[in-house]
């Protein structure tokens, strides 16, 4: 530690250098400690407390919240909460899959534009990326309204009653989720598609590879870095989403995010809310870990 070193052309010791470094780190790290790490730990602690009669926290250690989350409620076992968790995983997965399927043609299309207009097309993707999600979610109210062709068509087919909108429904939730997260997949994917080495694709074509073979052997491996980032940017926030299901799904199609939000507002049950957050956190970590392992620890975060 007392070793003398040359650092940026200055004669110093490791210890005094690190002391100086700590000076730079401390304001930012202190902030993150006080308002991120400690609140996180507090959330863990609160998940083991119970709710008092007036919504206050009772600081006795209990696993009640977790068993409640697993379905063991006051009136015997119910599948309600597990159903919501399962549904969240399903919605996040389907959203991811559809967004990926739509992103590939879109990225190829933009990459094939001449350089002059390519950035214009790319901006078309960046704008929805940054547009507020509340606006982008409620905007579907209009498209799905009973006066417009989509709902009229569905009424004609007998799917909904004439004169009623297509929301709240599972369909509306998927529609909202996919359109919300599509840019999150497409933008990172585009970075990879733009750099694609087309000679490999041509080589595959010369060797009579089928279209599927070309995709899986020549295109997918090359675009995997961008795809991984896109999938994570979509899957993780999609699991905790509550705006889209709240506006477009109503009480019929609740997700984990809505459950957490409910505990912190109307139900005022912080300890149960904290336990659900822990469950969501565990799911997030699992999916990150699983994904990292599957993509061989590639360039994912």
């Amino acid at each position: 530690m007392h070793k003398v070193i040359i650092w940026y052309g200055e004669l110093t010791s490791v210890r005094s250098l690190l002391r100086r470094g700590l000076l730079f780190l401390s304001p930012g790290m202190a902030w993150l400690m006080v308002f991120l790490v400690i609140p996180g730990l507090a959330l863990v602690a609160v998940s083991f407390t119970t709710r008092g009669a007036y919504g206050e926290l009772v600081w006795t250690f209990s696993l009640e919240n977790y068993s409640r989350l697993a379905g063991f409620g006051m009136f015997g076992w119910t599948s309600d909460y597990l159903l919501i968790i399962g549904r969240s995983i399903l919605v996040a997965s389907v959203t991811c899959a559809v967004a990926v399927l739509l992103s590939y043609p879109l990225c190829f299309f933009i990459a094939a534009r001449p350089l002059r207009t390519r950035y214009l097309w790319l901006t078309m993707l960046v704008i929805p990326f940054w547009t507020n999600m509340v606006i982008r979610s409620y905007a579907w109210f209009l498209i799905l309204a009973p006066e417009l062709p989509l709902a009229k068509f569905a009424a004609m087919l007998g799917i909904v009653a004439p004169g009623s909108p297509l929301y709240p429904s599972a369909f509306a939730v998927y529609l909202g989720m996919v359109s919300l997260y599509l840019p999150f997949v497409a933008l990172p994917l585009f970075a990879s598609v733009e750099k694609l080495d087309w000679t490999l694709v041509e080589a595959a074509q010369d060797l009579y590879a089928s279209r599927t073979m070309i995709f899986f052997h020549a295109i997918l491996p090359q675009t995997l870095p961008g795809l991984s980032v896109g999938v994570i940017l979509t899957f993780v926030p999609a699991m905790g989403m509550f705006v889209v299901p709240d506006l477009l799904g109503g009480a019929k199609y609740m997700l984990v995010g809505n459950l957490v939000q409910q505990q912190f507002s109307s139900s005022r049950d912080w300890s149960f809310g904290a336990a659900i957050s822990m469950g969501l956190m565990a799911l997030t970590m699992c999916s990150l870990y699983f994904y990292r392992k599957k993509s061989n620890g590639g360039q994912v975060l």
């Binding site: 052309g9 991120l36 739509l102 507020n132 509340v134 982008r136 409620y138 975060l301």
Partner: protein, 266 residues
């Protein structure tokens, strides 16, 4: 460059339409001269004029900008210092990994978890001081917490790109640490700092979840106002407000792109 087939082009254009159709609908019905329903009754700008006389909306707009400006200023300063500290000192591999993990935490966790953690933390802090009642201060703190990480990551990549050669040269010429930071490092990483600040500002304007969980009754931002309004009923006034927010986003995106492209050339 590869040509795209008809099917690919079709799919791509449909996807773009899918992204923009809802937004177009909002803009379209914001100039529709009908208070209820979605039938075209002629062009009007009345809803926009009404916005300007709505105190609640003006307050929300002021709150949004105030929140974004204050949190961006603080997070840019803290994030930049943090990035210099992380990148320019010989941390051992273990402590570097630990620091990295803390830094990436706000980026990878779902924002609802950060929001929940903040609600609990502020709830406990309220036992000590009444400063932490839900309101502007809590919102500013929440925003800074996730902005710091993004600023630090952007600035650090700029620090990496710039390299240490010039700083070493300055050291060789007997520059003191404050002089070095002020006259060598900061000018070099300025484009990164500006890009980080723009990112932080946009993130703050765009945020709904953190604000929603930490806001008080008199500190609603525009997204919170819109959310509360559309849960009751959708009015053309809300369409007009949303269209304005949309236009502001477009301006901000184009400006950011211009700045970042210029900083890449420089």
């Amino acid at each position: 460059m590869k040509k795209t087939g008809t099917i690919t082009t079709c799919l791509a254009l449909c996807t773009i339409a899918f992204l923009y159709l809802p937004l177009m609908a909002v803009a379209f019905f914001s100039v529709n001269n009908a208070k209820y329903g979605l039938v075209w009754k002629g062009f009007t700008l009345d809803w926009y004029i009404k916005l300007l006389h709505n105190e609640v909306i003006l307050d929300a707009a002021v709150n949004t900008i105030e929140l974004a400006v204050i949190s961006t200023l603080v997070s840019t300063i803290l994030g930049t210092i943090l990035a210099i500290g992380l990148d320019r000192f010989p941390w051992s591999k273990r402590s570097a990994t630990g620091l990295d993990m803390v830094l990436h935490l706000p980026v990878v966790i779902p924002d609802i978890i950060l929001a929940a953690a903040l609600v609990v933390a502020f709830g406990l802090l309220r036992l000590v001081s009444s400063w932490f009642e839900p309101g502007m201060l809590n919102m500013v703190i929440g925003h800074i917490t996730f902005q710091i990480a993004f600023v630090a990551l952007v600035v650090r990549s700029r620090l990496n790109a710039v390299g240490v050669d010039l700083e070493e040269a300055a050291r060789d010429l007997y520059a003191s640490t404050p002089y070095l930071i002020r006259h060598v490092t900061l000018p070099l990483i300025m484009p990164g700092v500006v890009a980080g600040a723009m990112l932080a500002f946009t993130l703050s304007l765009d945020d709904f979840v953190i604000s929603f969980f930490t806001a008080g009754t008199d500190s609603a931002t525009l997204p919170i106002f819109i959310y509360a309004a559309v849960r009751r009923t959708v009015t053309p006034e809300i369409h007009a407000l949303s269209t304005l927010v949309l236009l502001a986003t477009v301006v901000l995106v184009v400006a950011t792109e211009r700045i970042s492209r210029r900083s890449q050339q420089a």
